[in-house]
């Protein structure tokens, strides 16, 4: 099917799907850098700060490179008991996941090599699904399955893609 044959509905559907997948990947990647900034507003008793460690609000959300955690610590602990999970692979996944999601989110949103970007994103979701199958997180598996279906739909409709910086690939 050539681009000229696309209906307006197909173009919008592809654009919406691209936006959803791009934002989903980008913000998920950014959230890997989220952490907490501890409050320094001490509790006041009799008009004086009681203790610098005792503050009004525990923390507020903030983003920083130091906060990065690709695979949550609790999941990493769980994977430790899985004989099929290779530790080196988990370490690579842990380091790469956040930056990869951010880059793919940006390329999908901007329309840079969308087919390749979507394929890589789909493969990441497949990798995550495998991990969740190992630890029997069936609801997570189903959730990621929906993501893979959406990626497949986006790839299938790639011919209707518009507003792209790099259409090739």
């Amino acid at each position: 099917m050539s681009e000229k044959n696309s209906t307006l509905g197909q173009v919008f559907a592809t654009l919406l799907l691209r936006l959803w997948l791009g934002i989903r990947a980008l913000q998920t990647g950014v959230e890997k850098f989220a952490g907490k900034v501890m409050s320094d507003q001490s509790v006041e008793v009799d008009g004086k700060a009681y203790d610098p460690d005792l503050t009004e609000v525990a923390s507020t959300k903030a983003y920083a490179l130091d906060n990065y955690s690709g695979v949550p610590a609790a999941l990493k602990e769980t994977f430790k008991g899985e004989p099929l999970m290779m530790n080196w692979a988990l370490n690579i996944f842990d380091k790469v996941l956040g930056p990869a999601l951010i880059i793919l989110g940006i390329t999908i949103l901007l329309g840079v090599a969308n087919r390749v970007s979507l394929l890589i994103l789909g493969l990441i979701y497949v990798g995550l699904t495998w991990g969740l199958i190992l630890i029997k997180q069936d609801s997570g598996v189903a959730w990621l399955g929906i993501h893979v279906v959406m990626v497949a739909m986006a790839l299938n409709w790639a011919n209707h893609n518009r507003l792209c910086i790099l259409k090739k690939w």
Binding site: D40, A58, K80, M85
Partner: protein, 441 residues
């Protein structure tokens, strides 16, 4: 608030500005290196990593060596140290090897399985190190006694990891709410619990490729890898749930009442986990003759449900009840309708008043038999750092001579001694009235 990483980063900025060449000695003093404490991390399992994360926020510590019998923990722990301070620590699988080879160590932080706490702590004290040792001091009362004797013989510092003793919320509650302002009136009962979900109480599995060879396991007291991963289930290696979870909270009972219990009566069983050596559920009643009068304290540790409010300690008095927990959301203060007004305490910031609960419907026949619902207040503030950090800060400040330990070995022993008698009481299905010998070093 500046953490250790910020502290080091800001130090580097100063160096970049040329201060290194101009005044290196001043810079050295400024970055705290003159107060540098060389630390050995003994045990880098789950709890060891929790302590390390808390210590990573404390300035002036140099993690010189790491010891763990499991290569997985050893490499992972050393990697975390390298990420923090930019250089790999020396690594060991054997503590004797570490103590023989490492020079210039000041401190050991012991977070090994319970049955190793006492031998490891005693070795480190005898090697001239100050020691921070996780609770319980041991899986046996004799092991705990050995730590007290070794501490007092060596003249070194030994802090036991009952971290609530350094938590400013707990200290505020004891000093200002219970003691100075007597919001509980006369404390008559205490209730404490740790209810943990079945999901969190399962056997810990492991990757077979990471199995420790049987010779090494045997050398360090484990019959196999499953026992190594699940040492808390075994009587020769641990005190079981009453020790793992209950010790923290039963410690608070005695600390707040400022006395030891006179008896314990416990019940426990393998109600769900039939093959484990330790009871999965334990309930215990301690009786105290506190300076203010007799107090009965109930404690339960359940490993088959998380219902019932998780974990907290509740001090119930004639004027009010203080519920306190490491989780601020589980803390509350309830005022009895006959108690003196607390408005002045609210105005001065000692507590916050919560909105009144809805009144029971007039048509509810049962409601007429009930006492009026107590007014609810909250303890002000939350701890703004990891829960173990203040206790570690207190330890390192004491090592520097700037503070006094909040839970030294002798005080920790006084707190832990009654806990060693809970399982025997439950096994015999008999109350134990303590003799002085049972609670003494």
């Amino acid at each position: 608030m500046m953490n250790r990483r910020d502290f080091l980063a800001k130090g580097s900025t100063a160096a970049g500005a040329g201060l290194v060449l101009a005044a290196p000695s001043i810079l050295k003093a400024a970055d705290g290196n003159n107060d540098k404490i060389n630390v050995a991390l003994i045990g880098m399992g789950k709890q060891g990593r929790v302590l390390f994360e808390a210590m990573s926020n404390i300035p002036g510590l140099h993690f010189q060596a790491v010891c763990d019998i499991w290569d997985y923990n050893l490499k992972g722990g050393a990697g975390k140290v390298r990420a923090l301070q930019g250089a790999m620590p020396n690594t060991y699988t054997d503590i004797d090897d570490l103590l023989e080879k490492e020079k210039g160590l000041d401190v050991a932080v012991v977070a090994t399985p319970d049955f190793w706490h006492s031998p490891h702590t005693v070795k480190c004290l005898e090697a001239g190190l100050d020691v921070y040792c996780e609770k319980m001091m041991s899986n046996t009362i004799e092991g705990a006694r050995a730590i007290v004797r070794a501490t007092e013989k060596s003249g070194k510092l030994c802090q036991i990891g009952h971290q609530r003793r350094s938590n400013p919320r707990y200290r505020f509650t004891l000093d200002h709410l219970i003691n100075n302002n007597k919001v509980c009136g006369t404390i008559v009962n205490i209730n404490g619990q740790w209810n943990r979900a079945l999901k969190s109480s399962q056997d810990i599995s492991y990757n077979k490729r990471l199995t420790i060879d049987s010779e090494r396991l045997s050398k360090y007291g484990f019959k196999d890898m499953h026992q190594f991963m699940n040492w808390r289930f075994y009587r020769d290696l641990s005190g079981g749930p009453i020790s793992d979870l209950g010790a923290h909270q039963i410690d608070v009972f005695g600390w707040f009442l400022n006395c030891k219990p006179k008896s314990v009566y416990a019940s426990g069983g393998n109600d769900y986990f039939k093959t484990r050596e330790h009871f999965d559920n334990v309930m215990a009643i301690f009786e105290y003759d506190a300076p203010q009068g007799p107090v009965r304290a109930f404690y339960q540790v359940l490993t088959t449900t998380s219902a019932g409010g998780g974990f907290y300690e509740s001090f119930m008095g004639t004027d009010g009840t203080v519920n306190i927990s490491e989780m601020a959301s589980s803390s509350a203060i309830y005022r009895e309708s006959t108690a003196p007004e607390w408005e002045d305490l609210v105005r001065r910031g000692y507590m916050r008043k919560k909105p009144a609960p809805p009144k029971p419907a007039a048509s509810d026949g049962v409601a007429s038999y009930e006492s009026a619902a107590p007014e609810e207040y909250t303890i002000p503030g939350v701890l703004n750092k990891p829960p173990h950090q203040p206790h570690l800060e207190n330890f390192f400040a004491s090592v520097r001579g700037n503070a006094k330990l909040n839970c030294d070995a002798r005080h920790a022993f006084e707190s832990e001694a009654p806990i060693f008698w809970v399982n025997p009481s439950a096994l015999k299905k008999e109350p134990i009235v303590f003799t002085p010998e049972q609670l003494q070093v």
